[in-house]
Structure formats: structure tokens, C-alpha cells
Amino acid sequence: MFRYILRRLLQSAILLFIVLSVVFVAGRSIGDPAILILGAEADAASVLQLRTNLGLEDPMLTQYLRFLGDALRGDLGATYRYGMSRGELGGGLPEGRAALPLVVERLPATFYLAGVAIAIAMIVAIPAGILAAMYPRSLLDRAINVISLAGVSVVEFWLALMLVLIFAVTLGWLPTSGYGGIAYVILPAMALAFRSIGRMAQITRSAMLDELAKPYIITARAKGLSPARVSLVHALKNASVPIVTISGDEIATILTGVIIIEFIFSWPGIGQITLDALSRRDLPIVQASIFVLVLIVLIVNLLVDLAYVILNPRIRLR
């Protein structure tokens, strides 16, 4: 078990290294940060001065190794302009705040929204999928099919706008946007959860149907157990592996979806700061938020893998 965790941690570290490399290359391809900071009308001398100060005149390899070394220490650079006026920059080194803490302090808001969305998705989708499998071709079964088809077809931001239009503008039940208590989180969480509900319900349904067709189900029925017990204890235990897998995938999907949804609902999370930074070419912030999001997804995947071991006794660990 210990060695398994160690191996998985090592794999995650390698993946993180690859992602960081991609971020480095992408970051050097979106334009000269010095010109972005100083503006297009800046003279060549001060651009060169700033490039030297930023280390952009060094050879690529040196820059890359420095980037990795800093990243290892949790330093993903300082923001170019977040929270300061252009005058403060002058011609010298930007004295902006470190990017990583700026991103990390947005995490609670993002976790709040994503957590509610994931909870909604799981609470709705898993029972619905189980019931659909227990009563195939029932009304519920058909309804889940329609909803999941709609879920994979609808674009999140369109759905978000429609939800706002219906529940906030027309009906006036909920606020249109902003950060706050439960009333504020409902619409963005629903917009995030909708697609996942359909997919999770489908996977749950088909996993349950697979298990319910297996011989051990007949054994369970021959013991005179109730249909609920046969489904919820016997079939669900074995169907739980694909259900946990899809839940992990959907958590990752929701974490990426959160960027656009936070923007639409002015939700002060990691997504909002990332989009903001992107539009301002604030590279360190973008790097930091990609780093944080990838780290979260890796942790979720690690937890999913550990859950397999608990749920499926046949998975042998070496």
C-alpha cells in the first residue's frame, strides 16, 4: 500500500513537471512581457532594460532551469500588474506581489462553488442512475436519457445565461451574480453541475445494469433479499468503481468549467483571476493558476485511485 502510494506520487510529480514545461513554452510564445508591461509605444532601450531585469535576455535553457527551480520553491513569479498602477513599475524590476499566494487566496471561493456543484451533481445523478437501472425503460429511465443528452449538448455559458435570465431576471428569485451565501451559489453551481449530472447518471445506470446482469445477483435474489438490498448492497458495491471514476473525471471537468462560470457570475475565485490575467497577459498569474488547478486534479485522481483499492478487493497492490 505504501509503495503504491509512493509510486502514484512519483507519477504525479512527473506529470506536474511536464505540465510546467508546457506552461513555460506557452508562456514564451504569447508575446514579449516587457512590451506588454511597458506598452507598445515604449522605447527600445527601456524594453531591453526590463527584458534584462526580467531575465528574458538569458539563454532559453537558463530561463527554463531558473523557472523550474523557482517553481520547486513555490515561486511562480510576481504579478506584472495585478493590483498596482503602471507608474509603480518604472523601468525597473516589477515589485508586484508573488503570483502563487494571489491565486491561492482565491481558492476558498472556488472550492465553495465547485464543492456545491459537485455535491449537487452527485446527489442528483447517482440515485437517479441507480433508480433508472432498477426500473429500466421506466419514465425516469427515459428522463435521464433526455437530460444527459441535453447535458452533453448544452454549452455551459449559454446555460448560465439562461438560468440567470429565468431565475434572476424574470422570476427574481435569486441574485444575478456576486459572491455570498447560499442564494448566490445556487445558479452558478447548477450551471456547472448540469453537464456532469447527465454523464454521471448515464455511467451509474450502465454500471448498475452491468452488475445486475451478473450471476451473483441471482444468488442474492435466491437468498430472499429485497430488490432494494440486491441493488443497493450487492450491485452498487461492484458498480462503485466506475461511479467513482466518473465522479473524479467530473470533478476535473467542473474545475475547468469553473473559470468561465466564475467570470459570468463575478465570482471572486481562481477562474476570475485567471481570465483577468489572461486578458492582461499577466503571465505569472496564469502560470500559477494552471499550476494550482493541475495540482488539484492530480490530487483528485490520486484519491480516486486510492478509493479503488478500498472498493475493489481484487485490485492487488505490489
Binding site: P215, I218, R221, A222, G224, L225, R229, V233, K237, R314
Partner: protein
């Protein structure tokens, strides 16, 4: 009531515990309705072993499923007849009432124990489950009973193995777990559907011994579904031979073995290899069993029967009794004998 066998030394046979009358089971298929069981009659007495002998597709497993209330529906349906347990007709009781029969009064052991156990639950949980759910035993008490049941089916170091999962058991040991599970609520009837088919010959013999010993201890009646005439000969007090959804011959095991009176049974007996005919070709029944969507008219066996006449081709034979207990559904039952 029929008299108990006089020459029985192992045990005395009791009252009839189960009576199946004119059972019919239909399956809806894309090719139309198939009658998988067409008027089966048999009864089972306390403490005896009845072997239902037949090829695959003969309806023997469907008969067991029908008694057990496990005919898959849809596409299956019990379309006629009765299954009397005492004075209750199991065909007509509700699903809820049937669940109080399943496991409590009739338990079942399946062919492939490895796939018939839940891979995600410990064997101890699966054995103890009926005790916890149906008798409300505490977790600790049920676990203790599960260990005792595992010891009873001779699983070594049961106390250590109770928390193991099915994949940690061999085929023979899995079948012992299945038997322990079936015994949990002390049923009057055990239906064993090809319990040893998936096992090695030596393990087969051990499982059969175990079933025999458990029957002696508990006095439960056993319905043994098998395609193996040797298993039937060794285990059964009485044998019912099924062919194309009908019981073609039934009677005490000695009568079936030594005085078979249906051409199909005779064909089965002849196809058993013996040491004397070592260098001969194995004898077989010519032809193949009928496809159930197109069962021949008259006697279903007539296309494969050497002595078939026009009567056999047109008229379904009624059961002819050669002795009070020995019946054969052949027009010429009194004439056919094994040479």
C-alpha cells in the same frame, strides 16, 4: 401418499414436502413463445434426494428456477401448474411472501460458485447476510454463526478466512461457501443446480460427500439438477429424466438404472463408457436434442428413437406406470428394455 421405500437403509423417508403439478414455463423470444417446461410433475419427500437429469436445454434448470421463484421475467413466465410447498402454491404467492420462502425454506446452490458469489463482499458477510437481514442477528452474532457454518462445510481455519473475499478461494472452496450460505437459515429443501460441474473430479467427490453428510445431519431434502448420470446414480434416491421440457421417466434410482423404460433413458445408459468397451467407439444417441422453438409433434424424442411408430409421431404419450413409483412417458414403456 406413496409408500416409503422398504429397502432404504440410510434413512427413512418422510412426508412429501414439495409437489410440482403440471408446471408450465414459457419464454418470449423473437421467434415466438417457447414452452421451456411443458407439464412437469414431480414431488419431493423430506430427507430424500431427487435428481433431475437432462441435457442442457432440457428444462431442468428452469424447473429449479420455477420452484425457487427465480424465472427471469420478462422474458420468462410460469404459465400454468402449481408448486405446492405444504399447502401453499408458490406460483401464486406475492413476491414479498416468496422472499420469506427463499433462503428460509428453500435454498439454492448454483453451478459456478466463483461467479455466483459477490466479488465485492467478504464471504463472511455473504454467509451471515440472511441471518442479519431476516433474523435480525447482531453483527457479532452473525459473524460467529458464519464461522460456525464455514466449519460445518469443512473450510479449514474458518475464523481466519471469514473476512476473505471470494477471489481468495478456489472453486471447490467457493462451492463450500455457497453451501454454507444456503444452510444459514436451515432450509427444508436445498436445490443444487449442477453444483460440481465446474469442479475437478476429486473436488466433485468431496462436495458430493459433504452434501450427503449435511443431508444426514439436517434431514433436508435435496433436488439435484445434473446432466451426469453417474452423479445421479451416486447421490439420488429417485431420478426424474427430462427431455425437451418434459419429464420422460421418473422413479427410484435402482429402477432407472437397472430397468430403464424409456428409449431416451436407455440411450443415456448406453452412452456411459465402460471398461469392457475400452477399445470401441463410444455409443451415442443419434441426432441432437430439438430446438425448443420447434419441438417435434407427438413424442418429442421420436426423431431420435429407433422404435418410433406413427403413433409416436402423432400422439403425445401419457405416463405409463410400471410400478407405483416408476413411470415412463412412452407409448411402448412396457415393452422397451435395455438389452
Amino acid at each position: 401418499m406413496r409408500p416409503a421405500k422398504q429397502n432404504e437403509t440410510r434413512k427413512t423417508l418422510g412426508d412429501t414436502v414439495l409437489r410440482v403439478n403440471n408446471l408450465q414455463v414459457d419464454f418470449e423470444t423473437p421467434l415466438g413463445t417457447v414452452r421451456a417446461i411443458d407439464g412437469a410433475n414431480f414431488d419431493l419427500r423430506a430427507g430424500e434426494t431427487l435428481a433431475i437429469l437432462g441435457e442442457s436445454g432440457s428444462g431442468k434448470s428452469v424447473s429449479a428456477a420455477a420452484v425457487m421463484g427465480l424465472v427471469p421475467s420478462p422474458p420468462g413466465r410460469i404459465s400454468g401448474g402449481e408448486v405446492l410447498l405444504g399447502d401453499r402454491d408458490l406460483v401464486r404467492i406475492s413476491a414479498r411472501e416468496m422472499r420469506r420462502v427463499q433462503g428460509d425454506r428453500i435454498a439454492m446452490v448454483f453451478q459456478d460458485a466463483i461467479t455466483s458469489l459477490n466479488p465485492g463482499l467478504t464471504v463472511g458477510y455473504q454467509i451471515a447476510e440472511p441471518l442479519r437481514v431476516k433474523q435480525g442477528l447482531s453483527r457479532a452474532a452473525a459473524r460467529k454463526r458464519a464461522i460456525a457454518l464455514m466449519e460445518r462445510v469443512q473450510i479449514a481455519s474458518a475464523a481466519q478466512r471469514v473476512d476473505d473475499y471470494p477471489h481468495q478461494f478456489s472453486g471447490g472452496m467457493s462451492q463450500r461457501v455457497m453451501i454454507a450460505m444456503a444452510l444459514a437459515l436451515d432450509p427444508e429443501i436445498l436445490i443444487a443446480d449442477e453444483p460440481t460441474t465446474a469442479l475437478d473430479v476429486t473436488v466433485q467427490a468431496q462436495i458430493m460427500d459433504l452434501l450427503r453428510n449435511l443431508q444426514r445431519e439436517t434431514g433436508m431434502a435435496i433436488i439435484l439438477i445434473t446432466h451426469d448420470i453417474g452423479v445421479a446414480a451416486e447421490m439420488a434416491d429417485r431420478v426424474a429424466v427430462m427431455y425437451a421440457g418434459r419429464i420422460v421417466e421418473s422413479g427410484p434410482v435402482q429402477d432407472i438404472l437397472y430397468k430403464p423404460s424409456h428409449p431416451y433413458t436407455i440411450g443415456l445408459m448406453d452412452s456411459i463408457p465402460t471398461l469392457e468397451q475400452k477399445f470401441q467407439r463410444l455409443r451415442q444417441i443419434d441426432g441432437a436434442p430439438p430446438v425448443m422453438t420447434a419441438v417435434p409433434k407427438g413424442c418429442a424424442f421420436h426423431p431420435r428413437c429407433a422404435r418410433a411408430t406413427d403413433l409416436c409421431r402423432t400422439q403425445r404419450p401419457e405416463v405409463v406406470y410400471l410400478s407405483p413409483q416408476h413411470g415412463s412417458a412412452c407409448h411402448y414403456a412396457k415393452e422397451v428394455t435395455r438389452e
